[in-house]
Structure formats: C-alpha cells, structure tokens
Symmetry: C2
DNA sequence: CGTGAAATGCGGAGTTA
DNA sequence: TAACTCCGCATTTCACG
C-alpha cells in the first residue's frame, strides 16, 4: 500500500495524540470526516499501527525513580533468552525492554518507588534469574518520545 | 487525588489501548458510561496521563533497523545538554531518547532504513555535534512496552 | 448525507461520615 | 448536612456505511 501526505499526516497526528477523534483528524487534514474515516480505517486494516499506548504520569503514581538497567546473560541462547523475556513479563515495574545485539543483551526501562524498591528489584527480583551475568543501572533524568521520522521512502 | 480500583483499571486499559472509547471502558469496568466518562475526565484533568501515543509499524514504513545508541558527551554541563537535546529534536529517526546519570549521558532509540542510513546518521548527523565524546550502537532485536506496574501505593 | 450510536452534562438517588 | 459516587435521561455530536 502506497501512502500519500494525508496518510502520513494521520500517522503523525496519532503518534502525538492517539485519542484524537476522526472529526478532529479531519479538521487537521482539511478533508471531509468521511474521507478521513476511510483513510484511518485503511491504515488500521493495513496494520500501520502497532499499538496505541497511554503513557502515565509515573511520578504522580508514586514511581519517583526511573532507571535504565543493562543486563548481560551468561548464555545468550534462544532458550535462556525466551525464559528471561518470560520472566520480564512477571516482574512489576518494567516499563519497556529492549533485546539487543552486542555486549549488553537486555536494556530495561524500569520505574520504582524509591531507592529501596530499586535495590530490592535488582537484588531480589532480577538477580533471581539464574543466567544473569551482570547488571548495571543508570538513573533516568529525563526521557521522551520523539516520533521524528522521515517518510520519504513510503510516499508515492 | 486518591485512586480506587476502577481508576486503576481505566489507567491500565488505556495503557494497552489508548483508543478505547468511553463506552468500551464502561463495559469493561461494568459501570454506566456517564460514570466512566466522569472518572476519565477527572483522571485526565488531574494529569494522570502524560501522553497518548500511537506506535507505528516501523518495518512497514521502511525502517528496517532499530538501534540503541549510547552517547557520551565531552562535557556533561547544562548548556551542552540543552543544546544536545535541542539537536535531537531536529534529527530524523529518533524514536525516543533517555538522558542518563553515569558513564553514558544519552541513550537514543533510533529507527533507520538500512545500514547506510545508520552510518550516515552516526557519522554525519550525530557526530556533527561538537561535544560528542563517544558513540556506540547496538542493534535492537526486539523491544516491547510492558506497563506492568503495581499501584499499591496510590490505592486507598 | 442519513442513521444509529456515542459523548457529554445534569439532576437526583443512595451512601457514608 | 455535606461530600461522595453512581445512574438514567436528554441533548448534542460523531462514527460509519
């Protein structure tokens, strides 16, 4: 499926506000609501959206510390990786994880209440996994989603 | 503002699908649409949501490679940091960035079309910033948003 | 553009302190 | 009574074919 400028505009607008109504989108694109509706349906059906996520105000919910945790496993094998990912799904506090090539096997974005919770997360929860080789954490001062892509390659 | 189980449920549901309608939320919570609407309005007004983001199917848009790039700056000073963040906003391909404490100052989640685009991004775009000390990249095999938080501390 | 459905706001009922 | 949270209803607005 080929995209044009209007399609790209829909993608961009929803990246920044996934709860925009069809009406609101139509106003932004300067087209009729029905036309916009069709386009949005087409984009959705063609699987251009992976997910629509509300990101929460973590501080307000008591998660005062966010950290990025680098994890190296003893064996970077399929089975170990699978069971580690499975473990990640059971742990509380994981906002997002990256599975990586290279020295660091996993990068975890984690939200915790306070330093004690962090210590417990790392020493009790995470280290519990027996193939952990190494863990290092960095406090996140700030993080932001940018969505600043160039779409030149999909435009007709 | 105190939250109860219903509020938490709204937060969780929208984390997983930010385009859920009020009606759909109401059905899930098993309360009247009007009630649900009031709660959602209250949560929104009280700033519990930071953003609603559509995450796109990057592969489908021609971004075949995602990388995590560690950046160390020569000087980790306010002015340098500010202008680097400003620069990040102008670069194409940055999905998300983290500003960190520790050895690594910035972690960038970047989406590119192919190895050549990546090379150009790093050598031409990023290295253009004069306070770059060090850059290292890791290919992202897989990354996922989990939203697996425990809300025990905000529940009444 | 039309129809059916949903969003939205309000008054009132039930509950608790 | 005051402060809630809920619901049903009425109106406006929107989704969707």
């Amino acid at each position: 499926m080929r995209l044009d400028q209007k399609d790209i505009q829909i993608l961009k607008l929803l990246q920044n506000n996934a709860r925009l109504s069809n009406k609101e989108l139509a106003v932004e694109l300067d087209i009729a609501p029905s036309t916009c509706h069709e386009r949005l349906k087409k984009l959705t059906k063609s699987n251009f959206f992976k997910a629509f996520n509300a990101s929460l105000n973590l501080e307000k919910l008591g998660f005062n510390i966010e950290v990025l945790i680098r994890v190296r496993l003893k064996k970077h094998e399929r089975e170990v990786v699978n069971s580690f990912i499975q473990k990640l799904h059971t742990l509380k506090g994981i906002v997002r994880f990256y599975h990586l090539a290279g020295e660091t096997n996993f990068m975890l974005h984690v939200a915790v209440e306070n330093p004690n919770t962090l210590r417990s997360f790392i020493l009790d929860e995470l280290s519990d996994f027996k193939y952990i080789d190494n863990i290092e954490s960095s406090i996140i001062y700030h993080n932001k989603c940018l969505h600043n892509l160039s779409y030149t390659n999909v435009i007709e």
